[in-house]
């Protein structure tokens, strides 16, 4: 019994592509979960979703220029993500349009451009589906190193500016009266989200990115009311979901990105249900004690 369970666990890991895939999805899960705490608290879910979609034309152009070289596609994705992130920020500041409107414009325009570019060359439409839905099992050692380096950049930047980022997120007026560099901090956060999205592209893909950015952090937000604990729990949810999702994907032949996101969602639903039951229990207790 135990032996068969053990072999059930070990067997997939005898494949190099599974080892690399697991390492990559755990790393990406942690990065998304930590930056996700800021995305959830600042109400930037739509921004995160849009940003992942705006990468598409960059990836398409990269594909046209350099063929299927994965390494160079990452740089195209990163460049497009950073430009779009700062562009969205600039548009909503310089006009009286609300932020979600300018996000919508950039998001749809860029995504349409991406699809238009793809449609000009029919043959690579299939390959690009990897970027829409992720391709965990195609992670190379080079990809893994890229994820490791840029993931470290994101986490170290958050660590360095942790206090300032909290102040500027909680009370922008306090940040202003303390003369903190608010504009720099807000742009820093946008760039960090852009890096996260570019790094995560191969693992979860464009379409499901927002789930990795939001669902683990939101689940953790239901569990605790302290920010450091929220980030830790968020990372934990993401890591467990990545591992479980990948195994399910291996044994049931489900798309790996979808499997990971589904497990995250299950975590959220369970947490939400427990929360609600607790609240009802408290309420009925309060009633009966009256």
């Amino acid at each position: 019994m135990i032996a068969s369970l053990l072999s059930w666990i070990i067997q997939p890991m005898t494949y190099g592509f599974m080892q690399r895939g697991l390492a990559a999805s755990v790393l990406v899960g942690i990065i998304c979960a930590v930056i996700g705490a800021f995305i959830v608290l600042r109400g930037m879910a739509f921004f995160g979703d849009a940003l992942s979609h705006t990468i598409l034309p960059g990836v398409a152009v990269g594909y046209l220029v350099s063929g299927n070289a994965r390494g160079s596609l990452f740089w195209w994705a990163l460049g497009t993500a950073i430009v779009s992130a700062l562009g969205i920020g600039a548009i909503s500041k310089r006009t009286h349009l609300r932020e979600d409107t300018s996000i919508g414009i950039v998001f749809a325009g860029m995504f349409a451009l991406g699809i238009a570019l793809i449609s000009t060359v029919r043959s690579y439409a299939v390959d690009l589906s990897h970027f829409l839905f992720g391709d965990v099992l195609g992670v190379s050692s080079g990809d893994l190193i890229t994820i490791l380096i840029f993931g470290a950049v994101v986490l170290i930047a958050i660590w360095l500016f942790y206090r300032q980022l909290i102040v500027v997120s909680f009370d922008p007026l306090l940040a202003a009266t303390l003369r903190l560099p608010a504009k720099f901090l807000n742009n820093l956060l946008l760039v960090l989200i852009a890096i996260t999205v570019a790094v995560s592209l191969q693992i979860v893909g464009v379409a499901l990115m927002v789930a990795m950015l939001v669902t683990p952090a939101a689940t953790a937000y239901l569990m605790t009311d302290r920010l450091p604990r929220m980030m830790l729990l968020s990372a934990l949810v993401a890591v467990i979901s990545s591992i479980v999702g990948l195994y399910i994907s291996f044994y049931l032949s489900i798309s790996s990105g979808a499997a990971v996101v589904l497990i995250c969602t299950v975590f959220f639903v369970i947490t939400w249900t427990i929360q609600n039951l607790k609240k009802q229990l408290d309420r009925s207790r309060a009633k009966s004690s009256l």
Partner: protein, 267 residues
């Protein structure tokens, strides 16, 4: 990285010269000139849309005026870190995952080094600030679990931790019950002894007259600034509030009822 400004203590703590603010083509404040000395407690009165929040943002150096200048101890206010803006309670995300202690510690951010945990001096400053507002027992509470009065006092503690000498409070009394209002007004009097200068936006004429030593009557223009006897006359109030204030006169005495109350404030 952060500005360090010398205070010229011979200069008034706050000095506004011909401040005007236009948002688009719409004038919000026009030609405001006044100055304050250390330890004064000023109630800023005026109907909704009078420009009270805008005035505070200009004084805090957060919103640049269209023309005119604001000086704090003789130098431009936007370079000082000794001004605290205490937000309206409705504008705060109370479910943000931080404790009372965390929020008060935020006041120290500009003085802290990155990475290292807050040192002894910061911890002492926060502890002292919490004691001043009598909230040391609530330090570990998440901020949504506070009453309205406690939420307001927490922000005052944060301003104290910031070592603010000028506190701008935007409608701190709005939505509080009577005991909580009394408690807050007592705390403001206590702060006067610590040489903190306070400007409070309020709707309550009677409270303004009883608890503040100076009154600033505002409606885009500065209508009158001085002691309550001088400022709160039927004539001045009519200019400030127009038809929005009901005046009940009875010989020399009169009673004023503000119809424009409350919540939400103005931009």
């Amino acid at each position: 990285m952060y500005p360090k400004i010398q205070h010229d203590v011979d200069q008034p703590i706050l000095d506004l010269k011909q401040i005007s603010v236009k948002l688009g083509d719409h004038p919000v404040l026009e030609n405001i000139t006044f100055h304050l000395h250390v330890g004064e407690r000023v109630a800023v009165l005026g109907p909704n849309g009078a420009g009270k929040s805008t005035l505070f943002k200009v004084i805090a150096g957060v919103l640049p005026p269209t023309s005119g200048e604001v000086n704090v101890y003789g130098s431009t206010s936007s370079r000082h870190t000794c001004i605290a803006y205490i937000p309206q309670r409705t504008q705060v995300d109370w479910h943000f995952p931080v404790s009372v202690y965390d929020v008060v510690m935020m006041g120290r951010t500009a003085k802290m080094k990155p990475l290292v945990p807050p040192g002894k001096n910061h911890q002492i400053a926060v502890k002292h600030a919490l004691e001043t507002v009598e909230m040391q027992d609530l330090a570990c509470r998440q901020i949504s679990q506070l009453s309205g009065g406690q939420q307001q006092r927490m922000f005052i503690a944060r301003a104290l931790a910031q070592e603010a000498e000028l506190m701008l409070m935007d409608e701190p009394l709005a939505g509080l019950d009577d005991p909580a209002q009394e408690e807050l007004l007592l705390l403001m009097e206590k702060l006067e002894k610590e040489r903190v200068t306070i400007m409070t936006a309020t709707h309550d004429l009677d409270q303004a007259a009883r608890h503040f030593n100076r009154i600033l009557l505002l409606n885009r223009h500065l209508i009158r600034f001085g002691s309550s006897q001088k400022v709160l006359t039927a004539e001045n109030l009519k200019i400030a509030y127009g038809g929005r204030l009901r005046m009940i006169e009875d010989g020399d005495n009169f009673m004023a009822l503000d119809n424009s109350c409350c919540e939400g404030g103005e931009e």
